[in-house]
Symmetry: C2
Subunit: 225 residues, 2 copies
Amino acid sequence: MTTTTPDETAPPSLRTRIRRIAQRGHYDRATLHAIVDDAFICHVAFADAHGVHCIPTACWREGDYLYIHGSNGSRMLKLAASGAQVCVMITHLDGLVLARSAFHHSMNYRSAVIYGSFEVVPDDHKAAALDAFMEGFAPGRSRQVRRGNASELAATTMLRIALAEAASKIRTGGPADDEDDLALPVWAGVLPMALAPLPPQADTPAIEPPDYVQQWREGDVADPV
Amino acid sequence: MTTTTPDETAPPSLRTRIRRIAQRGHYDRATLHAIVDDAFICHVAFADAHGVHCIPTACWREGDYLYIHGSNGSRMLKLAASGAQVCVMITHLDGLVLARSAFHHSMNYRSAVIYGSFEVVPDDHKAAALDAFMEGFAPGRSRQVRRGNASELAATTMLRIALAEAASKIRTGGPADDEDDLALPVWAGVLPMALAPLPPQADTPAIEPPDYVQQWREGDVADPV
């Protein structure tokens, strides 16, 4: 018996090959996992009889799968659960790149695209998967809250998609101006940005905030897991 | 001659009617414009012979249109320029909503969806539109940089889509727990977040930073225009 190791320097399919500025493309697992793990939400694109749709939804990673969940009544989840082909996009905007020429202005970003179809997560894994999701941004919380009861879990559809037909695209660094423009007396550089925490808003002022709430101002919320 | 005013309390089409938690849906122009104006990027979903795709790209608003642009070589722009049906999604994640029960955890967000097809922006409006985009996040900069020359503008495709078949969806506020759970000794509330500026990184240390660079730390970067 032989095992094959995927070539992590090459795109896994034609449609994951980065064409525009190919050197920004990455096909290794570590890069992909890091981008997925920094995300609270993804955008799921799919098509039905009414056209193409794009819907944002919460997401998390377990191993080599991206998970999403929601109400059984969700049109997107119903279609995705039926095995429809989807394109899942995760995008982190990291900064505005200000060049000396209008033409070379750009943005810094980290993005990941996943093609394929979702599969339904079995009922007996739902509670554990939801715990894992919660532990990612609020360690310990899954043992503090009232966990989902049978009817709540039954009303929830959970899906996962393999991180197989996937690619990452990243831009970092300063502007790439034409040499002729380098001497222009124009400020150039990067205006970086990140998703950042704002002060927690308690619904329960009498209850001592747990560590993950107290640390909300100190941590980097773009890093939920 | 009579003029008709769109009913801003009703969805403009079947596919823009918010179905999941309908009370979060908004159909008025002011709400839509505010969500679009807070965005640096949108996600454009479209379909071709290889399936459904979803691509993030910079965007800005002029009047009742959303603008995007990029290289003539972009597959997405080529397809969109040909009149393909698209779904454009803008999403701002505003916070994690921590409920007393696992089931009622949620997120606060502001999102906008636009259906339809893009149209090509005429060549003679490209330079002015790019100036307007830049002025949105860097007032005065369009007069400081070297503007696009004829060949740079010719290499750029600019498209716009009417903000007509569009809808907004917003969640704000704290958790909506079941009454039976309200007395549980679990911290509940919102962990808010926002896209926030980090210190500017100058490529041109000898040049005095203009006002919009100096103010990068003071302003709210989630409000580019």
